[in-house]
């Protein structure tokens, strides 16, 4: 999976799960604000990423992933 494919899939699965239009997902947008995540639904995002990409985001690493761009980069290094 090249990075563009990865970005496309990340946007698609997150938009579907958290019921937002894909168009609101931009690289610099804040993930929690855009997807309206609270402490519980953040768990669902971690589970979704693990199920879809086989990458487990440790809870202490979440703070390093505030934007979608940082999520793309984090996954690109591990997928």
């Amino acid at each position: 999976m090249d990075k563009q494919e990865l970005i496309s899939k990340v946007n698609s699965v997150l938009a579907e799960e958290f019921e937002v239009e894909e168009s609101v997902i931009t690289p610099e947008a804040n993930i929690k604000q855009t997807l309206e995540l609270d402490s519980l639904s953040l768990v669902d995002m971690v589970a979704l990423i693990e199920n879809e990409f086989g990458v487990k985001i440790a809870s202490n690493e979440l703070v390093k992933i505030p934007t979608f761009q940082s999520l793309y980069d984090y996954l690109a290094e591990r997928v």
Binding site: F18, E19, D38, S41, D44, A47, N51, K56
Partner: protein
């Protein structure tokens, strides 16, 4: 003593998704029972079940609200929306008053099983997702409804096996009578997924009359061979009488009496003394003569011992009074944790529309049911007071007496 009245009702069951639909099904003698072949593939002895659709609440509730709701909480949400609307209560009212919530529920198997499967397969609890814990708890219905409707009075799940819904209404009425609450959203909910009743099927409690699903639930009939599991949710809004008058609420009935008892006996086989005691207590607390009771909605689930002992208990208390007795489970199957609440609503619909629905499949009485007046066909009858029984595993018994207003 403060009087307790019913000002709203809502239902989501195999007989319909609204009061109007359910009333028509009761009147027409419709059966909600089907054969689910997927249960046979899972190793069920009986694939019979009530059939109802899990509501899609995507338009009504946000993702985060839905994430914590198992199927029975969704049924309960639908029933509660209808009940609040009929009671003329909007969100603004709920935000300004301390409204309580007491609902019967005694399992939440599907999310529990799914979470355990995930843990066993993936060895990672995060993958259970955020909803699993809230969906799995017995109090899932009250925690979900309480947060969705922002209720701030008592918030309590009543787990009394198949008498849960009746106990919820009875205990709620006591809280209102004693002045601790003015209004409580009461009810009962029951999941319908196979995981919830697989082990129940395993003790050979279910009818295996699979060639004719609509004939399988036959309370009081000589040839009954077990119950059929059902489910859904039912909500009644109970309220202190003066409080209801003051806000101009539609007052539709009064909770006159609540009786309860425990058998202190076998875990699954009911006896006669316990239920008789519950009936007598309800009648005594209602302060009425049994001749005032125009209809008895029996617990009768279509099991041999249960129906026999309930028939004996009713005969013990009513003697030759010959009040009409039916079990609406002949149409719905056994709605278990929901039944005590749904059967109050079924009986209310009959009372308000002057009929008693047929006790379907009552073709031949046995020695005990022959002593009761059990209409096998619908009858047109006006009555103003009914008694509803609910009995559960462990020998818990509840009886409610409701009067038309």
């Amino acid at each position: 003593m403060r009087r307790v009245v019913i000002t709203g009702m809502g239902i989501y069951s195999c007989l319909g998704k609204s009061l109007d639909e359910v009333c028509k099904s009761l009147y027409d003698g419709k059966s909600g029972i089907v054969l689910d072949m997927s249960r046979k593939e899972m190793g069920f002895r009986s694939g019979l079940t009530a059939k109802l659709e899990i509501p899609d609440l995507k338009k009504e509730l946000s993702r985060s609200q839905r994430a914590y709701m198992p199927e029975q909480a969704k049924y309960a949400y639908c029933a509660t929306v209808e009940a609040l609307r009929n009671a003329k209560i909007d969100q603004d009212y709920l935000d300004k008053h301390d409204v309580g919530l007491m609902y019967g529920n005694d399992s939440s198997a599907d999310p529990t099983v799914r979470a355990v499967d995930t843990m066993r397969e993936k060895h990672d609890t995060t993958l259970c997702g955020s909803g699993a814990i809230f969906q799995s708890m017995n109090s899932t219905v009250t925690m979900n409804l309480g947060t969705i409707f922002r209720l701030r009075g008592i918030n309590l799940t009543v787990s009394g096996a198949c008498a849960s819904g009746a106990h919820a209404i009875g205990l709620g009425a006591l809280l209102i009578q004693t002045g601790l609450q003015d209004m409580i959203v009461c009810g009962g909910a029951q999941e319908v997924n196979p995981f919830s009743i697989g082990s129940f099927d395993g003790i050979s409690a279910f009818s295996i009359r699979e060639d004719a699903p609509e004939k399988a639930s036959r309370p009081f009939d000589r040839d009954r061979d077990g119950l059929v599991p059902g489910g859904g949710a039912a909500t009644v809004i109970i309220e202190e009488y003066e409080h209801a008058v003051k806000r101009g609420a539609p007052i539709i009935a009064e909770v006159l009496g609540y009786g309860f008892s425990a058998n202190g006996d076998h875990i699954s086989s009911p006896n006669v003394e316990g239920p008789s005691k519950s009936l007598r207590m309800a009648i005594e607390r209602a302060g009425i003569d049994i001749r005032e009771i125009g209809y008895i909605n029996a617990h009768a689930t279509s099991t041999h011992v249960g129906d026999t002992n309930e028939a004996k208990a009713i005969y013990n208390v009513f003697g030759d009074q010959r009040t009409e007795v039916t079990s609406t489970k002949s149409q719905t199957g056994h709605e278990m944790w929901m039944a005590g609440a749904s059967e109050v609503i079924y009986s209310m619909l009959m009372m308000k529309n002057d009929f008693i629905a047929a006790n379907l499949n009552f073709e031949n009485p046995d020695e005990d049911s022959a002593k009761l007046l059990i209409p096998a066909k619908r009858i047109e009858k006006h009555f103003d007071t009914f008694l509803s029984n609910s009995f559960g595993f462990g020998g818990t018994n509840a009886t409610l007496i409701i009067r038309n207003l």
